[in-house]
């Protein structure tokens, strides 16, 4: 078995850091709830009797050897400008939000 893991601890600073990485802006009440919930989840994981994986190679995909290359040719079936919703697009340009005075 792997060595028992120490209890996780998420302090408020880590919640702020993760929220910034995730580009979220939770208020104080939500930060408290998130911290409690994430700690609870991590503790649940740590409590499990994980198998010994020291010599196990991780897999990130059901069929790890399946990715294939295709010719490097433009094949886009649509104009990216079509993605722009009419409420924020004008004459083929994107109206970006105002972020500076």
């Amino acid at each position: 078995m792997n060595k028992p893991l120490p209890q996780p601890l998420i302090d408020p600073k880590q919640i702020s850091r993760v929220a910034h990485l995730a580009r979220l802006n939770p208020d104080e009440a939500e930060r408290v709830l998130l911290r409690q919930e994430l700690e609870r989840i991590l503790r649940s994981f740590d409590r499990l009797e994980w198998p010994d994986t020291r010599n196990t190679e991780p897999i990130y995909h059901p069929h790890p050897d399946t990715n294939r290359l295709r010719p490097d040719e433009v094949q886009s079936p649509f104009d990216p400008a079509d993605l722009i919703h009419e409420s924020i697009g004008q004459d083929g340009f994107l109206m970006a939000p105002k972020t500076m005075e």
């Binding site: 649940s44 059901p62 722009i84």
Partner: protein
Amino acid sequence: MTQIHELGALELGKKIADREISAPEAVRHALGRMDLLDSTVNALITISGRSAYQQAKAIQKRLDAGEKLPPLAGVPLAVQDNISTKDILTTCASRMLHNYVPPFSATVIDRLVAAGGIVIGKTNLGEFAMDGTNETSHFGPVLNPWSTDHLAGGSGGGCAAAVAAGEVWYALGSDTGGSLRHSCSHCGLTGLKPTYGSVSRYGLVANASSLDQIGPVAESAADCAAVMALIAGPDPKDSTTQPMEFKPEPVNLNGLVIGLPEECFLPDLQPEIGKAVQAAAHQLAVLGARIEPVALSLGEEAVAAYCLIAAAEASANLARFDGIQYGYRPADPKHDDLSDYYCHTRQQGFGAAARRWIMLGTLILSAGYYDRYYLQASKARRLVKENLQKALAQCDLLLTPVAPSTAPRPGAGPDDLYNTCLANIFTVSANLSGFPALVLPCGLDHCNLPIGFQLIGSAFSDSLLLSVGTAYQEATAFHQLRPPHVGEKT
């Protein structure tokens, strides 16, 4: 006399081909059912009646001219609202994409439409297909046509509810940890989570890319097979798709070995589910299959690995939604900088449960947590796959329950992510390994709520699964049961 909505998809397709029912008539009937029922069950987010009617008229014209079309031509279908449909809203049941109209269609849609399929509606789901009950939808939860005091299950409850309520004849949904299978089981339907790589994911709004798969939902395995025949196969736009042969043929169950993992019959499994699943195994034995006990650990580790991997991949996939090019834009006029704008947009655009998933995924991918959680989960994933392969080396298929209980009531589920994931204990292994899994109805509980069972096969055994499912349904009638009193307003 059988009403149009009581026909299976293939049966309706045959009647349309034989010109006993016209394609526009089928569309009108579906729209009538939606008008009657959908304010109750809330299965649909968008109804594309006008374009469906235009397509139906075009198909009818071709049929009237004597053209022979594929078996499901003219049959209206619904599509889960996280599968892109050109010129039809695709919201993912999120405020973030409440106004998003894709300029392209998913490959599965292109293939079905080319074969005469008529997309008539987009179905409700948990936000970005991330929750197990569909209660996190921005458009409200989907109620179960069998009992509107219960949920249709999730995340893809809208697909199953639309078919069970007779609003459409089949649907396409996605399955990341069992959502398509759970909602089929809760609504008395047949549904396939195909082998990863057998159906293109191009145009599916990604939740967890290495787990997601698009699959059919219908009354019967034969209907699902007809849909798979149209959508399966390699797609240059999805490099994870594989060449595969999809040819379901009548199968003789004599000599087929079906493994029954005793570990599945947990003490907290609803007793009626245990009995119904055992009865399904007995029925398959009567048809000639040999039922053998097999060892298969379906421990919490698999669920934990799923939960971590799904959260990590979802946090990465949902990073693309920032409100700049499309989707939700907050009304606040000023922001300190662009980063501040992104944060506001995402905080307001995503619901609370989606934000929780994103935070968990971002946390375990960050320094100090990656090795201990994400890497550990990715190693456990290999063990889960090897474990399943080992069990399938002893038999042709595995038979398990789908869910520990029948359809839940609104608000009755656990309120934390980990315990929510635990409801997927029978289904996540198929997603982690990429193996196919078929759900078939096998009974009702004391509340008259449907019970389903699951058959899991080796990679690319989708044809065999559907053939065995068809053989089972030729000998049973559970798939023909209808929700009682659906649509009657009391």
